[in-house]
């Protein structure tokens, strides 16, 4: 498979040869005074998003790095290699050369505070679940990865059903409706060419895999993704993919699709038949039975597409975790801002009522009955959900132009996405007790 995305191979080009340079440096280490590059991630950083790309590129070429959790916004520590300096300069990433004395001082600060240094060993292999033809909405993750210069492989239903997903460490889902109902967009877009093309494409795919209809196809795909996590994969989902993959997994043996999708009405007793034991994050959600109501369930707190239920946007706050005892959650919330402006998506948030007890809330809106950002373990893997569609476009509408991240190089919202890209690179360590 070689559906590697376009610009995403830039770092390897820029850093090609780093490994050999690093080896040379290591060989002569005794003769040289060790030097390092500190990539600050606080307000001193001129391009936070590309800083992730710089670090990812280093990992791709075998250069080990460290993630200094809670130190200056979650900084990165890289070896001071000319090629890395060059890459930082080219991408406009602020990198501060430091010597061993300064590093010792930093390590002392880290040891004394709620901070930790996590080694990053190797670049995770990333797949983005996205349809082959472009849809009239942007995808925040592909935007972030492309802008940061992080390579990824596009996969869609055929690849999920036909290939070995264990070749990837990290799979991202964004806007897909895994209940097979295209987010009920037939209510407003059934005559739109893109809608019809997507429907026809899904029907063809269902036939190809001997599945009776699109909801069954998508539920099968969702179950494959569930298996991927169960066997140790990392899943990151945003927007409508979060809610619908939960519903699709719980409804694996229940008809929850309306008649406009599969020709049969929803099972009237669907709520009672949902198997919540199989889902990642939610339980006991109530399905939306109204065919004319553009919502899937009460998992989403904001219900943006139902005018009478729509909740206004506020701000959400990232939780602070103990870096030494809870490094994964800490990695996921590394940021130079703690309070972020909220943004809509077909699923904007997750109602507290529907969350399973073991789910870790990473960010919430104070006083609201919903949370924004969650994480949890599942089998041998883990999942992370971030509500909303585009952190820099709070009202993103179908057909709106994609966000130009060159205008948002310091976006705290997009940093959350890129935290998820890097955390699978962290070396697993036994928890301190």
């Amino acid at each position: 498979m070689c559906r590697v995305s376009q610009t995403s191979r830039r770092w390897p080009a820029a850093l090609r040869g780093i490994a050999s340079v690093a080896t040379a440096l290591l060989l002569s280490a005794s003769a040289l005074r060790a030097q390092h590059l500190l990539v600050p991630m606080d307000d001193a950083q001129s391009n936070h998003l590309k800083a992730y790309g710089l670090t990812f590129g280093a990992l791709t070429d075998g250069v080990r790095s460290e993630w200094l959790l809670n130190f200056r916004g979650g900084s990165f520590l890289l070896p001071d290699i000319p090629a890395l300096r060059r890459a930082a300069l080219l991408s406009g990433v602020t990198a501060e050369p430091i010597d061993d004395a300064r590093l010792t001082d930093i390590r002392r600060q880290i040891a004394d505070g709620n901070m930790d240094a996590v080694p990053l060993d190797k670049a995770p292999r990333i797949a983005v679940y996205t349809p082959p033809q472009s849809m009239p909405w942007d995808d925040a993750v592909t935007l972030a990865l492309t802008y940061a210069g992080i390579p990824y492989t596009n996969i869609f239903d055929d690849e999920v059903l036909s290939t070995d997903l264990s070749q990837f460490d990290w799979i991202h889902l964004h806007h897909e409706d895994f209940t097979g109902q295209q987010h009920k967009l037939y209510l407003g877009f059934r005559d739109a060419p893109w809608f019809q093309q997507a429907r026809d494409r899904d029907l063809q795919m269902a036939r190809k895999h001997n599945l009776p209809d699109v909801p069954t196809l998508k539920k099968t795909v969702a179950d494959r993704l569930r298996g991927f996590v169960d066997r140790g994969g990392f899943l990151f989902a945003m927007c409508g993919a979060t809610e619908t993959i939960e519903l699709a997994i719980a409804a694996f043996n229940v008809d929850i699709a309306g008649g406009s999708t599969d020709g049969t009405p929803m099972d009237a007793d669907a709520d009672a038949k949902m198997d919540w034991d199989r889902t990642f994050a939610t339980e006991n959600a109530r399905l939306e039975f109204g065919a004319g109501v553009n919502a899937m369930s009460d998992i989403d707190g904001h219900q943006v597409n139902v005018p009478s239920r729509r909740q206004p946007l506020g701000t959400f706050t990232l939780f602070g975790f103990s870096a030494k005892f809870d490094p994964v959650a800490t990695m996921l919330v590394q940021n130079h801002r703690n309070v972020l402006r909220d943004y809509y998506g077909v699923t904007t948030s997750f109602t507290r009522r529907t969350l399973k007890p073991g789910v870790t809330v990473l960010a919430h809106e104070e006083g609201a009955p919903w949370v924004k950002y969650i994480h949890g373990g599942y089998g041998r893997g883990s999942f992370t959900y971030l509500g909303g569609h585009d952190p820099e476009d709070p009202q993103h509408a179908i057909g709106a132009p994609p966000t130009d991240l060159a205008l948002h190089p310091n976006s705290p919202g997009y940093r959350l996405i890129l935290n998820n890209v890097l955390f699978p690179a962290a070396r697993k360590r036994p928890l301190k007790t």
Partner: protein, 589 residues
């Protein structure tokens, strides 16, 4: 607690004030009368006392002002006294001293909005959040269907940087009153304070539907929207058949955001009416103030056309439009409007003739300019001679230096005049040109290039440079490039600039094939020159246009690495981001 501490620290003076206020409060038998007297006009016995208190206040004598306001209070002027004391205590940092007085007065007229407002302000300012909330609820419960409690409290919270609390109050108002129709202004300010710019724009739009005069407030509020939120503001103001105020607001915002032409686009297609022409007039004045001459020109042209379509002549608008057009380097429009601004049976204004001649000069229509001046000379009298400079400039732009000199023969220009400078430059006399063009007031697209060159070279004479600029003036780009490259051989100290100028001319002609070797020559042959960074960037861009992504990438990367301090680096990074991947970057599997 903070306020009590501050008060105690001030010692006896503070204590004596408390006693004075308390004494007044204890005279509660007079309070009912005092409050009932509030509706009386100022021509009552309290008026001179109020005037005296205000005098003290305005003079910064706050102790005396406080005493005077207390006297007003004793004389029955409770509300002016409360408001006056509030101001005085705000200046002295003693706001909490007002609370005992308010605690006594409010129960006497518990729905008085001025007293309630003062009470809420003081409680919020002094950090007594729970008490403020309680006071608000008391007032609200007494007037459950009135908007005033919600509006006042929300405003006070907003002005004290408590947008989240204000949001809660407005949400409560929406439930209690069945909507926030009467609170749109507060909602608009709140959304802006919370950084919810799109929603703020919507609220302002709806506010202006009934109250168009809030346009200035909307502009002030929304102008703070950061660049990434401005599309939401635009969308919010434009949606749902916006009122005229929303269009006007958006046009002013665009002007303030540095996009005057976008501002004009917002209002230019509105159906013509007196109101629309008024809005255009406002915009044109703002654009003139901002020296956004293209936008001002467009607005004034539209106003002029609208008036003419109704059979009205507005010569003042035409003259302003001509002036704006000239400054926008649009001589055609300037000429048309200057002629429209002339009255049929009156002596031509020298200012208008000046604009007309300047426009003709820039257009290189020298003979026509001479005719205009000859026709107007009888009316202009001695002023006509002053226009010789424009005529000479017209001949220069027409490429006829000899005629230009002939025009100036009767009265040579000041040696420092820009026209003399250009003539000297065309002659290759760089010393005179350098001196005369120093303050160059003659608009010419190549003026910046000329000044750059003259500041770079120490040469005193170069006919080749003169030939190059004359060719540029005649818009003979082939000859200009050839002369610039010859000049580069002659003037080694300005060679990179001259080659760069030649490359720019080739690029303007879309001749990348000829431009690339010139950019290459500057980038590699003069790598330390000020033009080298630009050359690398343009070299890369030219390669990109020709489909050589790999070559372009190499140039952009080299530019960033070699010239990290260049102001062009962000552009190079942007170009890098936009490049397609090279073959080696693609799928490695």
């Amino acid at each position: 607690m903070r306020r009590f501490g501050a008060c105690c620290a001030r010692g006896l003076a503070c204590a004596s004030t408390s006693v004075a206020v308390a004494a007044v409060v204890l005279a509660s038998s007079a309070m009912g009368q005092a409050l009932s007297a509030q509706s009386r006009p100022l021509g009552n016995p309290t008026a001179p006392l109020i005037a005296r208190a205000l005098d003290h206040e305005n003079g910064g004598r706050y102790d005396l002002a406080r005493d005077a306001w207390l006297e007003v209070l004793r004389a029955g002027g409770a509300i002016p006294a409360v408001l006056g004391l509030e101001r005085v205590y705000t200046m002295t940092g003693d706001e909490d001293l007002l609370l005992p007085l308010l605690d006594s007065l409010v129960p006497l007229t518990p729905t008085d909005p001025q007293l309630r407002g003062a009470q809420l302000r003081v409680l919020v300012i002094t950090g007594r959040d729970a008490a403020a909330d309680s006071a608000f609820r008391q007032w609200r419960d007494l007037r459950p269907r009135e908007v005033a409690p919600y509006r006042d409290y929300a405003r006070i919270l907003l002005y004290n940087a408590r947008p989240q609390s204000a949001d809660s109050v407005l949400a409560e108002a929406a439930t209690a009153l069945g909507g926030t129709r009467e609170l749109l202004l507060e909602v608009a300010q709140l959304r802006a304070a919370l950084g919810r710019w799109g929603e703020a724009a919507v609220a302002w739009r709806e506010t202006m539907r009934d109250q168009a005069y809030y346009e200035a407030g909307a502009v002030f509020s929304l102008s703070q929207a950061p660049p990434e939120s401005r599309d939401a503001v635009r969308e919010g103001l434009r949606a749902a058949q916006p009122p005229m105020g929303a269009y006007q607001t958006l046009s002013q915002l665009e002007l303030g955001w540095g996009a005057p032409l976008a501002g004009w686009q917002v209002i230019k297609d509105l159906p013509v009416s007196d109101t629309v022409v008024y809005v255009w007039g406002q915009f044109s004045e703002e654009a003139e103030r901002a020296q956004a001459w293209s936008a001002a020109r467009d607005a004034l042209v539209a106003i002029h056309a609208a008036r003419r379509s109704r059979g009205l002549q507005d010569r003042a608008v035409a003259e302003r439009g001509a002036n704006a057009a000239l400054k926008a380097n649009d001589p055609e429009t300037a000429l048309r409007l200057a002629r429209a601004a002339r009255g049929p049976n009156e002596a031509p204004k020298a200012e208008l003739i000046g604009i007309e001649l300047e426009a003709l000069a820039r257009l290189g229509r020298a003979a026509e300019a001479e005719q205009v001046l000859a026709d107007a000379a009888p009316q202009l009298g001695g002023q006509a001679r002053g226009f010789a400079r424009s005529i000479a400039w017209a001949w220069i732009r027409a490429g006829d230096v000899l005629r230009a000199r002939a025009v100036l023969a009767d009265g040579p220009l000041d040696a420092d005049d820009a026209v003399s400078g250009w003539l000297a430059l065309y002659d290759g006399d760089l010393v005179t040109a350098r001196r005369a063009l120093r303050y160059g007031d003659v608009a010419a697209t190549d003026a910046v290039a000329a000044l750059s060159l003259l500041s770079r070279t120490r040469a005193e004479r170069s006919p080749t440079v003169g030939a190059a600029f004359l060719a540029l003036a005649r818009q003979d780009s082939t000859a200009a490039v050839a002369a610039l490259l010859r000049a580069a051989e002659e003037l080694s100290d300005a060679a990179p600039l001259l080659v760069t100028m030649a490359a720019r001319v080739e690029m303007a002609r879309r001749a990348d094939v000829r431009a690339i070797p010139l950019w290459t020559r500057v980038a590699t042959g003069y790598a330390q020159s000020p033009e080298a960074a630009e050359a690398r960037l343009e070299w890369g861009r030219a390669l990109k246009r020709r489909g050589d992504a790999r070559g372009a990438r190499e140039q952009f990367e080299t530019m960033i690495i070699e010239y990290p301090g260049s102001a062009l680096v962000p552009q190079a990074r942007r170009e890098l981001d936009a490049l397609p991947p090279t073959r080696a970057d693609e799928c490695a599997e």
